[in-house]
């Protein structure tokens, strides 16, 4: 069991199930939009340390599959 030194909030633990479900839908539709846009060549590649949540190249590729 993880020990805990502050209250994580019970509501917050429950809420995450809903938040994650909504996020899943959002990401799915974003992914579809991305594919549509890249089909028409409308995607710009940005170069920034914060362009992706994944810090390793292989993670990025793994997620795209």
């Amino acid at each position: 069991m993880n020990f805990l030194y502050f209250d994580p909030g019970l509501g917050a633990m429950i809420a995450q199930a809903v938040i994650a479900a909504a996020a899943g839908v959002m990401l799915f539709s974003k992914n579809v939009m991305y594919k549509v846009k890249s089909f028409f060549g409308m995607v710009k590649d940005e170069d920034d340390n914060f362009d992706s949540i994944d810090i390793e190249e292989k993670d990025r590729k793994a997620d795209d599959q």
Partner: protein, 459 residues
């Protein structure tokens, strides 16, 4: 043996604590955290994050049955969340999510997501709490999620709707902005955004509904690893796209002023010719706007801080420093007339700006086009502002705009019938006030202006 003086900000986490060993900060790890520490080390999590520059480097000094001591790389100056511009705040939030997602992929989690885990170093945000990781238990939600919303997501979204001043609320709320308050401050239309509705409004509602479940009777929902990743990724995408549009107080200051470009150059070359021979290791430009003048000496000084009251100027400076890879430039927001106080337990958890400046001990302090604001907008007498600078500065490069200067004129005109109360604003009184703390080494009128530049040294 190490001389152990426990750091005032280090008591919340039982996993370990920070000690001040002479000039060096070290981190002591308690046996309760040995399993986590060793696993993180063996699985290469520390190494991977440090290699990417996301986590502060550390050296293991010693390891015994009762404690492990590590020494993190020193950071010359710690900035706090309420001193960051919007872009800095955003990057600190994104960094936290990147680390959480990476940790999750390796079987760990961030057990807390406090904004104080991040500070700025070498031009980038860096995670400084090496003991914030814990083992991930399959199927559990992220325990630090609520803290992430209160420390990062909430303040950022509030800043979008109310401007960057809102970020200063972190100064009065060391544990983050309460969820109910975030929810109530957001416009009604945010309820129609699925990200904002679920991450803030719904969260606030569920939190207040379950706040008196003292016996922890309600069953905690399971959350798969993939679902948690989705949640993190969606937050990351949303924060990355967050923007604010604010008119700047000084952002285009240099376009607005009546500076001739010739005198602008004259001021620049005067500054660099005075500062370079002093060979400073640390320099701070107080009221330094977007860092234009600090940049004249940036290549000659190993560590340069530029601070300004205007969040947008700080933001421009931050972006520029990142674009040009100026790793020795640190920028943050501060108001000379009300510097950040010491906050938290005992008023010592987060040091006041003055305490941090005294510890930083810059060799050179620059105060350009600032004294008329301190004196005429803040009504601070000359000897008081001199005392302020003398607290932390050895050399002081200070610009005094005379009464004939257009900015001073406009500040004086605004005093209306009280204009006579400010007759003391002149060269003679200025030098008299500062002579209590400093002696004047050099003095020169900037060509084509009504401004005098002084080089002073503390008595």
């Amino acid at each position: 043996m190490t001389n152990r003086e426990r750091h005032e900000a280090s008591f919340r986490d039982p996993s370990g604590y920070i000690i001040q060993d002479g000039d060096v900060l070290r981190r002591v790890i308690n046996p309760i955290y040995f399993d986590q520490y060793n696993a993180l080390k063996e699985k290469g999590v520390f190494e991977a994050l440090q290699k990417k520059g996301l986590l502060i480097d550390h050296e293991e000094e010693s390891a015994s049955d009762s404690e492990i001591i590590i020494t993190p790389s020193p950071i010359p100056f710690i900035t706090n969340p309420y001193e960051w511009c919007f872009e800095q705040y955003k990057h600190a939030a994104l960094l936290t999510l990147q680390i959480q997602k990476y940790a999750l992929s390796k079987g760990f989690v961030l057990k807390d997501a406090s904004a104080y885990n991040v500070t700025f170093h070498k031009g980038k945000p860096v995670f400084i709490d090496t003991l914030s990781f814990d083992f991930y238990e399959e199927g559990t939600p992220w325990r630090a999620f609520k803290q992430f919303i209160m420390h990062f997501f909430g303040p950022l979204v509030l800043a979008k709707y109310h401007g960057t001043e809102v970020l200063k609320m972190m100064q009065t709320h060391i544990d983050g902005i309460p969820l109910q308050l975030i929810s109530s401050m957001l416009p009604a239309k945010t309820r129609f955004s699925s990200t904002l509705y679920t991450n803030i409004h719904l969260l606030a509602k569920l939190e207040s509904k379950h706040s008196d479940d003292y016996k922890a009777e309600t069953k905690i929902a399971k959350l798969s690893r993939k679902a948690q990743s989705n949640m993190l990724e969606n937050l990351f995408g949303y924060i990355r796209k967050l923007n604010i549009s604010e008119a700047t107080e000084w952002g285009d200051y240099y376009d607005k002023t009546n500076y001739e470009s010739e005198s602008f150059q004259a001021k620049k070359s005067l500054i660099s010719s005075w500062v370079k021979p002093l060979n400073p290791q640390r320099l701070i430009d107080v009221g330094g706007n977007d860092g234009t003048f600090a940049r004249t000496v940036l290549n000659d000084v190993p560590h340069v801080i530029v601070t300004d009251i205007d969040s947008n100027a700080v933001e421009q400076n931050y972006r520029r420093a990142r674009e040009q890879d100026e790793n020795n430039m640190l920028t943050f927001v501060s108001d000379v007339l009300q510097p950040s106080p010491g906050i938290g337990f005992n008023n010592t958890e987060r040091n006041s700006l003055i305490d941090r400046l005294v510890a930083y001990a810059p060799d050179v302090t620059m105060a350009l086009a600032l004294i008329h604001h301190i004196t005429l907008s803040g009504n601070v007498p000359f000897d008081k502002s001199a005392g302020f600078f003398a607290k932390f500065s050895k050399y002081l490069v200070i610009e005094f705009p005379k009464r004939e200067d257009s900015w001073v004129e406009s500040l004086l005109v605004r005093k209306r019938e009280f204009i006579n109360h400010f007759d003391f604003y002149n060269e003679v009184e200025f030098e008299k006030g500062y002579s209590g703390y400093f002696s004047i080494e050099k003095k020169e009128q900037i060509k084509g202006t009504n401004r005098i530049l002084y080089l002073m040294v503390r008595k």
